[in-house]
Symmetry: C2
């Protein structure tokens, strides 16, 4: 199935996302595949067997978020110059979100921009990173602080690559799918409630609907001024959890799952969400083997941490909350007491 | 006077170029001024006296093309992070083309893009770098090979800054102005032929018309696929001259001046340009104290050098030639013998 992406409001950009087995890919230009050793060992042969191009060069970068740096991007750029890539050459991002973000960023920089396509191999990157055009790297000051908005020419999502994905990483991708459903589409949430995530047709539909919803959001707000903030549902809490646990306990999607449970509790407290709805979300996350609880040791410290998030303007926090299933509300200036009251439920004696 | 810039074909971008004394600049955000010691010593006080902002931070980078690197950009980025610049902060490029290119590039990268404005202090950067959105840095493989297309929010061109510009640098800027006239506007060429370049009203008009013409070109071709190539008139020859003289003999604009004389000779040979027209261009360049001759020691080596230019597709050279005054023609595949015949006129016994 094909999901057409059109960013017509801010720029005249359109490309297709194909959700299917990898088709034959024919290019009349030099092609650079950027990947890591893990993905390469499992799937590079499959990708190479599908590519027909005058010259294919594989660039392998170390696996892991800690290598998502300007230095790695510079190494990729140098390799492209060494191999005389020109303005018509093309890059393929072959891996998860880290590879996608760095490859897109590299493509944006090389001779002020060459084409790239995404072949994401994790569920998270398939549903999340393949739409939106956010590319970039981390530095010592934080995540994704250096980068560019740059769109791929096409995205090929092959659900078969997910068969080798570790279960925790698969679940982390499901968390982002649940996020889209709770924020934007009650019917999709119902579908997920009854779905066997490992059935191929179901999986494709899950990916399709997530991608479609994200494209709809991004199209309204490519540069993250308004509705795109809704994609941060669960993230305000999740970022604090990730930070408190030194980024070594939870995968991002797992922290977001817990964060959604917390956001829902706050929404219930404010009368925006029924307790029964919050329970349904929690059950769905649990059924996907996602964590749904976290012991907040110090409520005041947890609260103060919100203000360190780069997305929060100083002195105010925007909470992204569900307002009934499938609807969202951005709420500013919730009374500190109310937030802390909710956080206390996640304290030691929850 | 104000020149409105509208890039409506490829993106919905518009900004104004003010050609006048620097006005009062009021911002409600943190402002970072990127400059070099030379410009800073001469004019920083003037700029600072015009800025009203909650916080102004000056970032000084070393003066010179050799510092136009990714490393310098990373240093600027780090300084912005150290000083807690946020997504609403703004950069001001205060200097010549090197400062403008690096500041725009840095702005494009910081948190995936913050606003920047240009306050160019050389004639070349006033007429050339302030329109077009080309930003970036050099690396060991060549010039401007890493970068982004990124547009400023405004450009303030103050001709008074040119009073302290070394005469050779002033002349180098005039070369680019002559280029625009020969390629696009015979009337403007006539105006330049009778102009006192140091009269302030004349100078403003020269800058205005150049900027307007460049904006017209860029608007048709933001990403350099077609007509924008015409801006390389004189550059095909000029790049070879710069390279043969190790970039330490001629300023870029000076090499372009000689390159235009060579291109004109080729155009005359092909019957596109009258000898009398070529002579008029040469006289104008001479009157601006620009070099108009260059001794080609080895015609074959000079010719082969064309193919090393990154803008030439392998095996073919596009020559940008005048076709009568004020008109341009892009000519492919001129017979090697004809080109070499023209080059021989610039040989040792010219």
């Amino acid at each position: 199935m094909i999901v057409p992406i059109k960013l017509e409001n801010t720029q005249d950009i359109s490309y297709d996302i194909l959700i299917d087995k990898l088709p034959k890919l024919t290019f009349d230009t030099k092609v650079g595949i950027v990947t890591n050793p893990t993905v390469s060992a499992l799937h590079l042969e499959t990708l190479l067997s599908k590519i027909d191009a005058p010259k294919v060069h594989v660039i392998t970068v170390p696996d892991g978020e800690e290598y998502k740096t300007l230095e790695t991007v510079e190494n990729i750029l140098n390799e492209l110059f060494e191999h005389k890539f020109d303005r018509k050459s093309l890059l393929i991002a072959f891996g998860g979100g880290v590879i996608g973000d760095m490859t897109g960023f590299t493509a944006s920089l090389y001779q002020r921009g060459i084409d790239f396509i995404q072949v994401p191999t994790t569920l998270l990157s398939q549903v999340d990173a393949s739409v939106g055009g956010k590319t970039g790297v981390n530095n010592k000051y934080g995540k994704n602080l250096i980068g560019a908005f740059y769109q791929p020419k096409a995205v090929y999502i092959n659900p078969e690559f997910l068969e080798t994905l570790p279960p925790r990483e698969f679940a982390a991708g499901v968390a982002e799918i649940v996020k889209m459903a709770v924020m934007f589409d009650a019917e999709f949430f119902n579908f997920l409630g009854n779905a066997d995530f490992h059935d191929e047709a179901v999986l494709k539909e899950m990916i399709r609907r997530s991608v479609e919803l994200k494209a709809w959001v991004v199209n309204q707000d490519e540069k993250e001024a308004g509705i795109r903030a809704v994609l941060n549902y669960g993230h305000t809490f999740g970022h604090v959890i990730e930070n408190e646990t030194n980024y070594n306990t939870y995968l991002h999607g797992e922290a977001v799952a817990i964060g959604m449970v917390m956001a829902n509790a706050l929404a219930v407290e404010l009368g925006l969400f029924e307790q029964e709805e919050a329970d349904r979300v929690k059950r769905l996350l649990e059924s996907a083997s996602l964590p749904v609880s976290y012991e907040i040791k110090n409520v005041d410290a947890f609260y103060d941490h919100f203000f360190l998030d780069k997305k929060s303007a100083k002195g105010s926090i925007k909470f992204i909350l569900p307002e009934g299933m499938g609807n969202h509300k951005i709420v500013n200036d919730i009374d500190e007491m109310i937030v802390k009251k909710v956080l206390k439920h996640f304290g030691a004696d929850q």
